[in-house]
C-alpha cells in the first residue's frame, strides 16, 4: 500500500468527528496548552505548542467542514495542505509529542489535544510522513509479531530461565486459565525480572494464568504510528488468543501504551466490546492485595519515589493502586512534585523512544524529570512501564545521575512471603 498525499488528506477528513470539530471551534489561542507540554517547557520554542502541532488538520477541518472555510476554498483564498507542509510537521507530530495527555488536562476550553494528535497521525502515516524507525517497527510488529523483532523462542528461553531460577512452572497455552499474561518486547529483552516476579506472586496468590505463543506481545506500533488497520491486526491476535483460551481477563504488562492499546482502543478497533476484561498488572496486584492474597513481609528502607506512566495514570485511571502497593513495601515513599494525574512524561512515550531521530530532543526534555527526581532526594525510582524505565535509565545516565530504576511488580516480589 503506497502512501500518498491524497490518502493522507482523506484520512484527515475521515478522522474529524464531532469532538474534534468542537475542539477546533472552541480554541481561543490562549497558549495555555504550551505551558503543560514538556517539549515547550524544556526548550522554550513556541513551535512545540500542542495545538500548533495540529495546524494542518485544523485547516482541513476548516476547509471541508465549515461554511466559511468552504467559501474560502472555492474562492481560492485558503492555503491547501501540501506534502512539503506535512514533512515540516512530521517532527512536530511524532518527535515532539509523546501523547502524554497533559495538554488535554489543562486546556481551558476542554480540548483533548492528545486525542487529536492520535487521530492526526492516521493522516500523517497514510501520506507517508511517519518517521522511518516507526515504519520499520510497525512492519516488524506485523510480519514478525513484535516491534523489536522478538519471536516466541526468545520468550521460551526466558521461560526456561525463570523455571530454573524459581522452580515454578510457567503455564503456556492453558485453556480455561483465569488470566492471559502479555508482555512487552522491552521486558522480554531487558527486564526478565518481570516474568519471574509475576510467576512467584501468582504462585503464592494461587492465581491461574497462562501465556500464549501467538499473543505474547502487548505493545502496538500501529497505534503509535497511527495506522488503525495495522493496529487492529495486532490487537486481534490478543483477542483471538484470549477467546481460544477462554480466559476471563487479559493482563496488560508494565507498559503504558500497551494498556491504552488493549484496554481503551482495542474494542473500538475490533468494532465490538470484548468478552473478557482487560486489566493493567497493577490493578490485578492491587486486587490480590485487597483480597489478602498478596502477602509481603518487611519494608524497603531506601527512600524511593514513583514515576506515573502517562498512559497508566492520566490516560488510564490507575492512580491509587501503585500507592497502596508501595505503602506495603516502602518505608520512605516520597511523591514527586506534580505526581499523579499531572505527572510529567519521561519523554519517550507515543513512539518517541522508538524514533532515533528524536533522541537529542528526548534527552533535552528529560530535564523536567531530572528536576522532579532531584527534588525528592531519592536514589531509587519505581515505575510500572518498561518503556518509561528504559527512557529514564538513558536520561539518568546522560545526566550522570545515580538513580536506580525498578519495576513495581519486581519490587513487590522482593518482599513476597513465599511457600505458605
Amino acid at each position: 500500500m503506497s502512501a500518498t498525499l491524497e490518502k493522507g488528506l482523506n484520512a484527515f477528513k475521515e478522522v474529524i468527528d464531532t469532538p474534534i470539530a468542537s475542539y477546533f471551534s472552541s480554541c481561543v489561542h490562549c497558549g495555555l496548552c504550551a505551558e503543560a507540554c514538556l517539549f515547550y517547557n524544556e526548550t522554550g520554542d513556541p513551535k512545540y505548542t500542542p495545538i500548533h502541532k495540529l495546524e494542518p488538520l485544523r485547516r482541513v477541518w476548516k476547509q471541508e467542514y465549515t461554511l466559511l472555510g468552504k467559501l474560502g476554498k472555492m474562492l481560492g483564498l485558503s492555503k491547501q495542505v501540501t506534502d512539503e507542509e506535512l514533512s515540516e510537521w512530521e517532527p512536530l507530530v511524532y518527535d515532539s509529542c509523546t501523547m502524554c495527555g497533559r495538554c488535554s488536562m489543562v486546556c481551558p476550553v476542554g480540548n483533548d489535544i492528545t486525542y487529536m494528535i492520535r487521530k492526526m497521525r492516521e493522516g500523517m502515516s497514510a501520506s507517508g510522513h511517519a518517521p522511518e524507525d516507526m515504519k520499520s517497527a510497525t512492519a516488524r510488529a506485523i510480519n514478525i509479531g513484535s516491534p523489536m523483532g522478538i519471536k516466541w523462542p526468545a520468550v521460551q528461553a526466558q521461560i526456561k530461565h525463570v523455571q530454573a531460577e524459581t522452580d515454578i512452572e510457567v503455564p503456556v497455552d492453558k485453556v480455561g486459565a483465569d488470566y492471559l499474561v502479555l508482555m512487552s518486547s522491552m521486558e522480554i529483552i531487558n527486564f526478565p525480572e518481570y516474568l519471574s516476579a509475576l510467576s512467584r506472586i501468582f504462585k503464592q496468590a494461587g492465581v491461574s494464568w497462562t501465556l500464549a505463543p501467538d499473543a505474547f506481545e502487548a505493545t502496538n506500533s500501529g497505534i503509535q504510528i497511527g495506522a488503525s488497520d495495522l493496529a487492529r491486526e495486532i490487537v486481534s491476535r490478543i483477542v483471538v488468543a484470549a477467546e481460544r483460551l477462554k480466559v476471563k481477563c487479559v493482563i496488560s504488562p508494565e507498559c503504558g501504551h500497551a494498556f491504552t492499546a488493549i484496554r481503551w482502543e482495542g474494542p473500538n478497533l475490533m468494532g465490538k466490546p470484548f468478552g473478557f476484561e482487560v486489566k493493567h498488572i497493577l490493578e490485578v496486584l492491587d486486587e490480590l492485595h485487597a483480597a489478602g492474597k498478596l502477602k509481603t513481609e518487611g519494608k524497603d528502607k531506601r527512600p524511593l519515589t514513583y514515576h506515573d506512566p502517562c498512559q497508566i495514570t492520566r490516560r488510564g485511571g490507575v492512580v491509587e493502586q501503585p500507592r497502596r502497593l508501595l505503602g506495603e513495601v516502602a518505608e520512605d515513599f516520597r511523591e514527586m512534585p506534580d505526581a499523579g494525574v499531572m505527572n510529567w512524561c519521561c519523554g519517550g512515550g507515543g513512539g518517541v523512544s522508538a524514533n532515533s531521530r528524536a533522541e537529542p530532543l528526548r534527552l533535552e526534555v528529560f530535564k523536567v524529570k531530572k528536576r522532579q527526581i532531584e527534588s525528592t532526594g531519592v536514589h531509587t525510582l519505581i515505575t510500572a512501564c518498561a518503556n518509561c524505565r528504559i527512557v529514564m535509565e538513558e536520561g539518568l545516565e546522560h545526566y550522570h545521575m545515580k538513580v536506580e530504576v525498578l519495576g513495581l511488580t519486581e519490587l513487590l516480589a522482593e518482599y513476597l512471603v513465599e511457600g505458605e
Binding site: 497558549g31 500548533h52 476542554g110 473500538n268
Partner: protein, 219 residues
C-alpha cells in the same frame, strides 16, 4: 439622518438583522459540529461516572494544579474580563430592560456604579491580554487576523457603552447608537470567529470530561 433617526435604526431593523444573523450563525455552527459523526466508545468505562462531562463544563474554569503560577496574567486577566463582561451584559438596569422587552423575563440589577467598575476592569483586562498576546511568543505565534478582530469587536461595545454612560466625546444619542451598532457587529461576527467558544466551550468541555470520566480520571 439625525441622531435620533440613527438610534431608531440601530434599535430597529439593524438590531433585527443582527439578531437574525447571530441566531442563524449559531445554529449553522452547531450543525457543522453535530453534523459530523461520533462513534460510541465500545471500551467498558472504568467506573460509571455519569455526569463527568457535565461537571467538566464547570470544573474546567478552575486552573489545574500549578497552572495559575505559570501563567498568572492569562488566568487573572481572563477571569476579570469574563466576569466584568458578564456583569455588564446581564446586570446593568437598561440591559435588563432590553432583555425584558424581548423575552418578558426580568431580574434584579446591580448598582450602576458597580457595573461601571466592572466595565472598567474588563477594559483594563482586555488591554492587558492584548499586550500579553503581543509579547508572549506562544500567543503571538498562534494569533492571526481573527484574534485581533475578535479582540476589537469585543472591546468596542464596552468602550462605547462606557462613553455613552459617562457622556464622553460624542453627543449621547449618537454614542448610544454607536454602542448598539458595536453590539450588533459583535453579534454578527460571534458565530464565525473564535468568539463562538461562548457556545462551543460547553460541547468541547463535555467531550473532554466524558473521555476522562470513562477512564476514571476526574478532569
Amino acid at each position: 439622518m439625525n441622531h435620533l433617526d440613527l438610534l431608531t435604526f440601530a434599535r430597529g431593523s439593524a438590531l433585527n438583522w443582527a439578531l437574525i444573523i447571530f441566531v442563524a450563525g449559531v445554529v449553522l455552527r452547531f450543525f457543522e459540529i453535530f453534523g459530523l459523526s461520533r462513534k460510541t466508545d465500545l471500551a467498558r468505562p472504568r467506573t460509571d461516572s455519569p455526569g463527568s462531562g457535565w461537571r467538566t463544563m464547570f470544573t474546567r474554569s478552575i486552573p489545574p494544579q500549578g497552572m495559575l503560577k505559570r501563567e498568572p496574567v492569562t488566568y487573572i486577566a481572563g477571569y476579570v474580563f469574563h466576569l466584568g463582561l458578564f456583569l455588564a451584559i446581564f446586570f446593568f438596569a437598561p440591559h435588563i430592560e432590553f432583555f425584558r422587552s424581548i423575552t418578558g423575563l426580568t431580574w434584579p440589577a446591580l448598582p450602576s456604579a458597580l457595573v461601571d467598575a466592572s466595565v472598567v476592569a474588563a477594559i483594563v483586562a482586555l488591554a492587558v491580554l492584548l499586550a500579553h498576546r503581543l509579547n508572549n511568543p506562544v500567543k503571538r505565534m498562534l494569533s492571526g487576523f481573527g484574534d485581533y478582530l475578535a479582540w476589537t469587536v469585543t472591546l468596542l461595545p464596552l468602550l462605547t457603552g462606557y462613553m455613552a454612560y459617562h457622556h464622553l466625546m460624542l453627543e449621547y444619542t449618537l454614542m448610544l447608537s454607536l454602542h448598539i451598532f458595536s453590539v450588533e457587529l459583535l453579534l454578527v461576527l460571534l458565530p464565525f470567529t473564535k468568539l463562538f467558544h461562548t457556545f462551543s466551550v460547553f460541547v468541547s468541555r463535555w467531550y473532554n470530561g466524558d473521555f476522562f470520566g470513562r477512564k476514571g480520571v476526574a478532569s
